[in-house]
Amino acid sequence: MTIATVTILIGILSGCLGEEKQKLIQTGSSTVLPLAIKWADRFDQADISVSGGGSSHGINALLNGDADLGDASRLLKGSDYEKVGCDPTLVKSDGTTSVACNGILPVKWIVAYDMLVVVINPENTWATKLNYTQLYEIFTDDNPAVNWNDVTGLENAPEIPIEIYAPDEASGTYDYFYEEIIPNWGKENQKAKPRLEMENSIYNPSADDNVILNAISDRKYAIGYFGFAYYKENSESLTPVWIAEKDTNYKEPALDNVADYPMARPLHIYTNGIPESGNIINDYLKYILSEEGQDYVPDVGYVKLSLVDENIITGQLKKL
């Protein structure tokens, strides 16, 4: 009786093995996640299972052989190689490498652009426009502003403490944000540290953009940042801050404004080597870069590659 049951159970499990689409595992950046789910959902030739976990996790999983596709909202770094026991100097500063690590050669594909949005509570009327200097005062440990009126150049700012709700250090968004506002980020002479790394910090980190969003829409004196997609899903509960790199040349975060907006960045998928034609990963990448694949990008709140530069698509398609 028991043996029969077990046989049946095994039968059920193996019975499903029949006709099969090829399976792919994609994991990594939570910023890329909604986009990856969209493509995986629409791409019919393969069964792609998608999970999140952060850019570092995505690259790490690819280098470990756990995943076929590693999502990252930042570039491959030497430290990623170092963590799996390879020479960190093999990775070039543009996030590419020509030397494989443990038999895996990470190749970078730019699949879309993301804009980073600094957001505040709708009741916040004093910080609707900020430049990099002011962001530096708010978000770094270099003589940080405690109250809103400590930030230079803000009019009618209240004498009430600033609260930060923003991504944590595992997220590519965090890395990108600080690369923008801290001079020499990641180098020996890095000018300041993120406020998150102070003791008793008012920086509340979360990998979960939804939590950040809820926190800021609930709290009048809070400020934070995340990818445009999350803002787009909930635009009525938050106010986006206009950003200027210098002085007062403020730009609104909007899809058609991507060429001028200072905080726009590419999103990547890393694969093991350039997939040969006929390989399902090759087809998948072609699909992502195709007109149909790119048409889904704005649905999720990101920017099509063609809006930034037409050559990005053609250059990458040439390799495939």
């Binding site: 959902d41 998150l196 980190p205 999350y230 899903e233």
Partner: protein, 651 residues
């Protein structure tokens, strides 16, 4: 029919095994000795192996933790780690002092205990001493229901209802420790109730009767006779509750925050929370990931110590008899220490109360303690402890009401039969349900033979020697391992080291190890319930030991074993933390092989509850309804099996 019955009777008379061939088990040269029986020996060997696999599993856990922590301790000194007061685990700061995490763990678990323990103990007194059988049979299932709610459901409720409440009324931070404390307190109440209740039930009735006979009220008997007599059991229930609180991951992960702190209205981070964060991607790989293993070791040791102490006391109560003192001096030693400590603590508390009473008496004029006042006291007391049950019941009702009212609209045939999708309108959970079912099947296939085999070996074949006691200890210790540590085991040992990948197989193995101790305990209890007379009678007519077990003990223990299996599986299917590292969130098909990636109901709830689009939170609630329905169905089946078996039982 008649012939078959006759054959069966004959077979058992001859002590024959099943099958047509009659094995020759008699030894021709020595008529009073049995021949070497290969079949029998190999079965016992298999059972022995099943029991010993637990050693391998424990070694795997320790290997995982040490292997992960070695690179960490080669860069950070162990003293800095253990005594440091700052926890900023980034590459640039490298402040890895575990004390803040440790303190937060104890603040949250201790806070939960501060609420949960008195309520639980009070409820147990009420149930054991005052409740009528009718009320008892009404409340017990509710408590069991509460105990069966998976922690992801509590986490979801905390995130959506409790935390916003503290944010809005007390101005708490968006992440706060207090919501975690409240929710975890509700989670440990059922545990405290059931163990305290058992230990108070175990107090011999003649104590109560003599107390009542000398004129004490029922209240006085309960608080001054029964409670002190059961004090070590109550202490054990509190210890196990504390261990549960310390190991809780999902609730902390969802509501408590990302940095340790000492204000319960602000963000806090426990040890299990930090390890969980490494799974959800909040922590970059490298030193800070390795730190999770170092934290895992500390967590493992603490939870293990508390749990085994508590479990040992429970064991002492169950098998308590003064005869054993000589044989188990060591065991009794720890037991005595704990009971001494608990008596000391209780005595200390009593002293404080007495001092207060004296002060109050001095202020007021001393009134003689009349019978009327004693009965008044009894009335107030019973009302209070009965009220303490209300806390859990109201909480459960609120939780179920909220989840059903939010999730019921999303439930539809399409939702149950479609695939996850980027748009909430189109998203369904078909492969997610299948993923959970497959996961369960794999868990059954792995854990059933091992768990039942181990229990049969320990209960029927093992000699009471050092190795057997060691085996028991090891299996019991597995029960004390926090669920997130199993998560580390799954990701780094099964997925990487053994190369099973982020697959159903890895997850099934992890869940199997996790529920193994529960299966062993349940099976052993079922085996013990079979009277020894059955065994002696079977042996008396010439059965071998395995024949006795196979044809006389197991058939009678079967309902009990099945019930235990189903209940432990229902525990496994609701777990999120152990598979947090390996589960996926989107897939277009159900897994088709055991090495495929998979989705599971609790993890999908976790993912959707964190989604940017609020509509996905409704879907999370709908998914919770499906999960609760499956759990309820499993529990109902278990209850039916148990009741039918009890009705059929003729001994």
């Amino acid at each position: 029919m008649i012939k078959k019955g006759f054959k069966y009777a004959q077979r058992s008379i001859n002590g024959e095994t099943f099958g047509k061939k009659k094995p020759n088990i008699t030894n021709e040269e020595h008529p009073f000795h049995l021949k070497f029986n290969f079949r029998e020996k190999s079965i016992v060997l298999l059972l022995f192996i099943a029991a010993s696999i637990a050693i391998f599993f424990s070694a795997a856990i320790i290997y995982t933790l040490l292997e992960g922590a070695v690179p960490f301790f080669s860069k950070i000194s162990i003293i800095d780690f253990l005594t440091g007061m700052t926890w900023i685990p980034t590459e640039s700061v490298k402040a890895f002092g575990v004390l803040p995490l440790l303190l937060d763990t104890f603040i949250i678990a201790g806070g939960a205990l501060l609420i949960g323990a008195p309520l639980g103990v009070a409820a147990a007194i009420y149930l054991s001493e005052f409740a009528s059988p009718k009320i008892r049979s009404f409340i017990k299932p509710i408590i069991e229901l509460l105990a069966g709610v998976p922690s992801i459901v509590f986490g979801f409720f905390a995130l959506i209802i409790i935390s916003p409440f503290f944010v809005n009324t007390f101005g708490a931070n968006y992440f706060n420790g207090i919501s975690a404390i409240i929710v975890i307190s509700v989670m440990i109440i059922p545990l405290v109730i059931s163990i305290s209740d058992d230990s108070m039930k175990a107090v011999p009735n003649h104590l109560r009767e003599s107390s009542l006979a000398v004129g004490a009220t029922k209240w006085e008997t309960a608080t001054k006779i029964v409670m002190p007599a059961a004090s070590s059991g109550i202490m054990a229930s509190i210890l196990l509750g504390l261990a549960r609180g310390i190991g809780e991951t999902m609730v902390v992960l969802m509501v408590a925050g990302g940095r340790p702190g000492f204000n319960i209205f602000d963000q806090m981070l426990t040890m299990s929370g930090y390890i969980g964060k490494t799974a959800t991607g909040d922590i970059p790989p490298g030193l800070s990931i390795n730190a999770a293993f170092a934290v895992g070791i500390v967590l493992f040791i603490i939870a293990y110590a508390i749990n085994s102490l508590g479990a040992r006391i429970v064991l002492q109560i169950k098998t308590s008899s003064s005869v054993k003192v000589k044989n188990h001096k060591k065991k009794m030693f720890t037991f005595r220490i704990v009971s001494k400590i608990s008596i000391l603590i209780l005595g200390f508390l009593k002293e404080i109360v007495n001092i207060f009473k004296k002060v109050i008496r001095k202020i007021k004029k001393a009134k003689p303690l009349t019978l009327k006042r004693r009965y008044q006291k009894q009335k107030i007391g019973i009302a209070l402890i009965a009220g303490s049950i209300l806390f859990s019941i109201i909480f459960l009702i609120l939780l179920l009401y909220y989840i059903f009212s939010t999730g019921i609209n999303g439930l539809s045939w399409t939702f149950l039969t479609s695939y996850p999708a980027p748009e909430p309108e189109r998203a369904g959970i078909f492969p997610v349900i299948l993923g959970s079912i497959y996961l369960m099947l794999i868990t059954i296939i792995i854990s059933t033979p091992i768990g039942i085999g181990a229990a049969i070996y320990l209960n029927e074949f093992a000699k009471d020697n050092k190795f057997t006691r060691f085996l028991r200890q090891i299996i019991q210790n597995l029960a004390g391992v926090p669920s997130i540590v199993f998560g580390l085991l799954g990701y780094f040992f099964f997925a990487h080291f053994l190369g099973f990948g982020m697959s159903l197989l890895s997850a099934g193995l992890v869940l199997s190890i996790m529920i193994l101790p529960i299966i062993v305990v349940a099976t052993e209890e079922a085996l013990k319930a079979v009277p020894d007379g059955f065994r002696e009678a079977a042996k008396g007519v010439g059965s071998t030991r395995w024949q006795t077990v196979r044809f006389h003990v197991l058939p009678n223990a079967k309902p009990g074993i099945l019930t235990g299996l189903i209940l432990s599986l229902s525990r496994g299917i609701g777990e999120t933390a152990p598979i947090l590292f390996i589960v996926s969130y989107f897939g277009k098909s159900a897994p088709s092989g055991i090495l495929d990636g998979f989705m599971s109901l609790p993890s999908q709830i976790y993912y959707w509850s964190q989604h940017a689009n609020a509509k996905f939170q409704t879907l999370a609630a709908s998914t919770i309804i499906v999960l609760l329905f499956i759990l309820l169905a499993m529990n109902t089946v278990a209850i039916i099996i148990r009741q039918r078996a009890q009705a059929k039982r003729d001994w």
